[in-house]
């Protein structure tokens, strides 16, 4: 997938190279339709348990399967999802690569042994049934944060496969992500050059809002951008970026337009309250520009290009946005895969340069 070397276009380890340097799609989602799909990748004990205990589904309510946001109408029906992604998304927009973020509900599982078993199965399934089929594909390591040691073990197990380019966690879990409990995960991430990808979604250990459970799914989805605000505050205030100076965090499907206003508030409070968090030795605005990246779908902006240009100006950085289609989620119609109003010289940065700068492993040739 190296932009320097061009790109394979005919499958894993293929030899034909072109000089196409199309966009890198930083957020696409493979679908697991049933736990049966994972059976070949589970131990005997858990494979038996699927049957003995009737464990059929780990689907999360974060994306109800028939909700409009969950899949674009023309991406709903397929006989082969890998083929659909490769032809209707990657070929369609000449993408040189895509990063698979699997949202199967492994993070929701209460039993930590079960969680690690299914996380391993998901990662092995992705490697065999997706990454092996098209050399443009890369993936995030699904980790069971229910137990930090298990999470680190899973990172160590998968990291030697260079096609895993990121560590994937959800926007809402049991504890704020900055808490020191999680730092071994960030140490492993930095050691292997893997960004932490935080994706919309919840383990539902807490209501999706800090004022309790809302009535409607549309509120659950809308609240995701709020979860990211709390997590960014946590990561900064606990000192994660002071401790792990090389760490990158990517906010996936977080929405974007909330970021400037949020940082103005946090940075103002930091000026008044920094004695409480003395390790935060520079403005959160600067920390975020150095360490945090966001995918562009959804942007959460109006269609008016002038407003989008003003919002981009508020970010005060050309380095933070990463291209994503969010396949198969329904964020846009037709070929409008870039929001209108993004300045032309920024488009290439968002589509190619920023992903390559964020994901070290994308600069390596396909294995």
């Amino acid at each position: 997938m190296s932009a320097r070397a061009g790109v394979d276009t005919v499958g894993h380890g293929g030899v034909q190279r072109s000089e196409i340097r199309g966009p890198i799609d930083c957020d696409v989602h493979p679908t697991i339709t049933s736990t049966r799909v994972l059976a070949p990748y589970l131990s005997d004990f858990w494979r038996d348990s699927l049957v003995e205990r009737g464990i059929d589904s780990l689907d999360s309510i974060s994306y109800p399967s028939d909700a409009p946001i969950t899949a674009r109408p023309d991406w709903r029906n397929h006989t082969d999802e890998v083929e659909q992604l490769c032809t209707q998304v990657l070929d369609r927009w000449d993408s040189q690569g895509a990063i698979l973020n699997c949202l199967y509900g492994v993070q929701l599982v209460f039993n930590e042994d079960m969680a690690v078993a299914f996380a391993r199965a998901v990662n092995d399934w992705i490697a065999r049934e997706w990454l092996d089929r098209d050399s443009r594909l890369r993936a995030s390591i699904v980790v069971p944060l229910q137990n930090v040691e298990h999470a680190v073990d899973e990172i160590e197990r998968c990291a030697s496969d260079r096609r895993f380019v990121q560590i994937l966690v959800l926007a809402s879990g049991e504890m704020p992500l900055g808490r020191r409990n999680f730092w071994p995960v960030y140490a492993a991430a930095q050691r292997h050059g893997l960004p932490i990808g935080i994706h919309a979604g919840s383990a539902y250990r807490h209501p999706v809002t800090s004022i309790g459970w809302p009535s409607y799914y549309v509120e659950d989805y809308a609240s995701q951008s709020q979860a990211f605000q709390s997590q960014v505050a946590s990561l900064i205030c606990e000192g994660v970026f002071a401790k792990f100076s090389e760490l990158k965090v990517v906010l996936l499907e977080s929405g974007v337009t909330w970021l400037p206003g949020f940082l103005w508030r946090l940075s103002k409070f930091w000026r008044g309250l920094r004695p409480e968090v003395p390790w935060v030795d520079r403005s959160p605005l600067e920390i975020v520009r150095d360490h945090v990246r966001l995918t562009i779908q959804p942007l959460d902006a109006p269609d008016d290009p002038d407003t989008v240009r003003r919002i981009i100006d508020h970010m005060r950085s050309d380095d933070m946005l990463l291209y994503a289609s969010d396949y198969p989620h329904w964020q846009f119609d037709g070929d409008r895969n870039m929001p209108p109003g993004i300045p032309t010289d920024l488009v290439r940065k968002i589509q190619v340069d920023n992903p390559l700068a964020t994901y070290q492993r994308l600069n390596e040739d396909a294995p």
Partner: protein, 370 residues
């Protein structure tokens, strides 16, 4: 508490009540719980002395996150009588109302009001007591001050009764709730509050804080006060979402909501996001008839403090453009440490007309201040 800094009166503002700022957030408070004793029954006084207030967090005598300063107050706001900040009317006048030429000040009491207590009946008794106490202690001797109708918001019926008890009394500016309710603010259990407020023509003021009984974020409890303060803007986004998506404004089309101390820079972005998800999934919420941003522009006002400060001040003007300068109302948060000074808080680049609207005109119109 020693007063380290003397109140500075060097920059006195014009004292015309016509031009003077309206301060939408002043935190007068009781000197001690004894101040409420005359307004409480023997039962509730006994209850308070025996069991105390029990917020939906574990600390008996302290907030969950230690504040930046004692009582979250400016170091210079402790009155010479040794009492708590904003308990001494004479000192409040000298240091704040007169010093800045404040024409009206809206009091949002936060201490010993019983809001969000685990015991709804105690909440109701303390709310009624607080509402009487505000008049006797502050509004009667100082008519520039206006009271809040403090309501025991977890009990909708009791709250509605308290609002109806105060309806028509113009010494009350609005109904006061805290932002972190036990359920999202749009849920039906709170509708009696909105119904009574709309009927009385009183806006609902929602001040940040309160303890919902849920963790401070959707991912659990943060560690620090700075996170708690930042997360208030986050929970206010959830409460605005709830009020819109539950159809509260379709049911009560005259309802007006004032968000206090939540910041406002998040409001345009929230409107854009809600419009998008509503357009995609409006079949789930058919009772929401307009794009969510239309409700935001019609039903919500936001107080300015703590004023967001972008690196480039012109970016704040974009936000004001997007939400409308008529939505913003100045607040100082006196006597708290993160006080905004009416002389300096609003960027000069807003221009005199918008500055004046935010400093006083918008609040005068909303609260029908003379």
């Amino acid at each position: 508490m020693n007063v380290a800094a003397k109140p500075s009166l060097d920059h006195v503002m014009p004292q015309s009540t016509e031009a003077g700022p309206v301060d939408c957030d002043i935190h007068t408070r009781v000197r001690s719980i004894e101040d409420l004793k005359p307004y409480l029954s023997a039962h509730w006084w006994h209850y308070l002395k025996t069991y105390g207030m029990r917020a939906r967090h574990g600390f008996a005598k302290a907030p969950p996150f230690p504040k930046a300063a004692p009582n979250a107050a400016r170091r210079d706001a402790w009155p010479p009588d040794g009492g708590f900040p904003a308990t001494n009317l004479e000192f409040l006048r000298t240091q704040h109302l007169d010093a800045y030429g404040i024409s009206f000040g809206i009091m949002n009491p936060l201490v010993a009001t019983g809001q969000g207590d685990q015991n709804d009946d105690l909440s109701a008794a303390l709310a009624t007591a607080t509402n009487d106490w505000q008049l006797d202690t502050f509004v009667t001797p100082e008519p520039r001050l206006r009271a809040s109708v403090v309501v025991p918001y977890e009990d909708g019926a009791a709250s509605a009764a308290e609002i109806r008890r105060r309806a028509g009394d113009h010494r009350y500016a609005h109904v006061l709730m805290m932002s972190r309710t036990a359920e999202p603010a749009g849920k039906r259990r709170y509708w009696p509050i909105y119904e009574a407020a709309a009927e009385a023509g009183l806006p609902i003021g929602i001040h940040v804080f309160g303890y919902s009984g849920w963790a401070g974020s959707s991912s659990g409890w943060p560690s620090f006060y700075i996170e708690e303060m930042t997360d208030h803007a986050v929970s206010c986004q959830s409460l605005v979402t709830s009020l819109v998506m539950e159809g509260v404004f379709e049911r009560y089309p005259n309802l007006k909501v004032v968000l206090i101390e939540s910041g406002f820079a998040w409001m345009p972005a929230l409107g854009w996001r809600l419009d998008r998800v509503w357009a995609r999934m409006r079949d789930e919420v058919p009772h929401v008839r307009q794009p969510p941003s239309a409700y935001l522009k019609k039903h919500f006002w936001i107080s300015t403090q703590p004023m967001e400060e972008p690196e480039r001040p012109e970016h704040l003007l974009d936000v004001v453009d997007w939400m409308g300068a008529d939505r913003l109302m100045f607040a100082s948060d006196y006597p708290h440490w993160d006080f905004d000074d009416p002389r300096f808080a609003l960027p000069a680049s807003l221009g005199p007309e918008r500055r004046q609207a935010i400093l006083s005109g918008n609040a005068r119109a909303l609260y029908r201040l003379g």
